[in-house]
Amino acid sequence: MNLTKSQPIPVASPPFKLGKPTREAYGEALLELGKMDPRIVVLDADLSKSTMTRIFAREFPDRFFNFGIAEADMVGASAGLAASGKIPFVSSFACFLTCKAYDQMRISVCLPGFNVKFVASHGGISVGEDGPSQQSIEDIALMSSLPGMVVIVPADELETKEAVKAIYSHTGPCYIRTCRPKAPILYTESCAFQIGKANLLREGNDLTLIANGLLVAEALLAAEELEKEGIHSRVLDMHTIKPVDEGAIEAAARETGAILTCEEATIKGGLGAAVAQSAARSCPVPMDFIAIPDTYAESGKPEELFDRYGLTAKHIARKARSLLQRKT
């Protein structure tokens, strides 16, 4: 395994400016790709104003198919389009796409390995006021369980755009989760996005915070707070949960001796599970997990929910301190 040192990618300093929601960045990226490649077709299930596929739909109405509220049929049809040489991008809310059409993803798309791109919006509890029926906490575990599926949670608008380009260039089924609220701008120039390659955002040797999605900003804030106490945190943006960057995990374990994962998904079967599985094989070290506990959340403002369910920088810093107690 290649454990060569790399330099952190420069990111913005706190306080972070709010940028576009990652779902909007997806809509814009899709339009750009659609202009370049006529094979791209877009499928939605009556949520195009929310998933932002309508940006594409307005420009390319002939290559946009609104299936109505019928996710199973939509995902099945995406398999047929991919079999015919199209590159379908399929969108809905994360909870509906991954739960209602899981079986169609499983048999129609992933078993034959068709080249279908799923980009689901409204991931996690940052959906907010709409409540637990609309908040997808299970999508990462579900998508990771499908053989051959690439699973990505980008952190901000720039990373989302690069992730969308990356899955377009990748052959095979992919899943990207985007989020509803505006995302803090972290990447200012480029994030050199590569599927399965974590981004090193901050160097440190006391422990590593491995985060993705909206939790990357929280992890960076937590690292600042810990720094004031003399705790040096490494921060990795593990945007790809599958295939997870095993080299970066092993290096984090060997060089920092403790890992805290941070994600906006159920603690069962998400980023934390993937990182723990990898570290257990390569270099077991004390670990802990910031994630949504094994429960449904509730209505509320995103920031209120992050606080109640333990996903803020404050919670990350607290858990980091207690994790360090376990380091030998």
Binding site: G68, A72, G76, G80, L81, K86, Q104, I107
Partner: protein, 278 residues
């Protein structure tokens, strides 16, 4: 589409050959679904040996018609039709369900690339066919897409999502075929969950409905021809069939939904099918 008497006799002989393979394949495998495979044989024969535009030597030919077996458990008959068409050697048919065989227990395109899709979880094939129909329309290609569905399968909600979509979008390059053999795994459809009034349902979803005797090859061909000529609507051919057709002790005997014949039963079935040949 002209079909001479001689050609009909040849097609009927082809169907008997497929039925014999279904019996041998499931018998050798010791498992599988002979009942629903035998009921669909005449439909597959009409498609693969008369109606489909395809070239077994060039399975990826872009202009080929597409066929999807949505009722994936009926794959022994499909595998036999493909082998007899020349897609792969007939000898491999007896590897059905064996470790490493391309002939998986349900159609798996990963293992057998000449398949158009992977199926086996009921209700999905019509949606896959819709995707192909949309692609055909987008690309201005005149290939047609056929999806063979089961009657029990039609209890799946996805079938009706797909029916609504195809009717709304007037996908006239799409033909669904229903193998209406009146049985599902547990019992007769009428006892479990009836589909009736079925023709009215499909008409209400803006489909052109054609009913045929699913074992009368000339009538199946006529139905497929009528579907091809129907403009502005997708068509469904409701084919009335007999589960286990062609083998006396399997006909309407739902024990053979998902049970293979014993070696003695294979012998008896082959003898019966042989005697049906002229």
């Amino acid at each position: 589409m002209e079909v001479s008497d001689k050609e009909i006799r040849e097609l009927e002989e082809k169907a008997r050959e497929i039925r014999k393979w279904v019996v041998r394949m499931t018998g050798t495998a010791g498992s599988g679904h002979p009942g629903g495979s035998l009921s669909e044989v005449d439909i597959l024969t009409a498609l693969y040996f008369k109606v489909l535009r395809h070239d077994p030597k060039n399975p990826n030919w872009p202009h080929r018609d597409r066929f999807i077996l949505s009722k994936g458990h009926g794959c022994p008959a499909l595998y036999a039709a493909l082998a007899l068409s020349g897609y792969f050697p007939v000898e491999s048919l007896l590897t059905l369900r064996k470790l490493g065989s391309p002939l998986q227990g349900h159609p798996d395109k990963r293992m057998l690339p000449v398949l158009e899709a992977s199926t086996g979880s009921l209700g999905q094939g019509l949606s896959i066919a819709i995707g192909m129909a949309l692609a055909g329309k987008l690309d201005g290609k005149d290939y047609r897409i056929y999806a063979l569905m089961g009657d029990g399968e039609s209890q799946e909600g996805q079938v009706w999502e797909a029916a609504m979509f195809a009717g709304h979008h007037r996908l006239d390059n799409l033909t669904a075929i229903l193998d209406y053999n009146e049985f599902q795994l547990d019992d007769a459809l009428l006892k479990i969950l009836s589909l009736e009034p079925l023709t009215n349902k499909w008409r209400a979803f803006n489909w052109h409905v054609i009913e045929v005797d699913g074992h009368h090859i000339p009538r199946i061909i006529e139905g497929l021809q009528e579907a091809r000529e129907t403009v502005g609507k997708p068509s469904i051919i409701i084919a009335h069939t007999v589960k286990g057709k062609g083998v006396s002790f399997m006909e309407r005997n739902n024990e053979f939904h998902g049970k293979a014949p014993t070696p003695q039963q294979v012998e008896q079935a082959l003898k019966e099918l042989e005697s049906q040949s002229e």
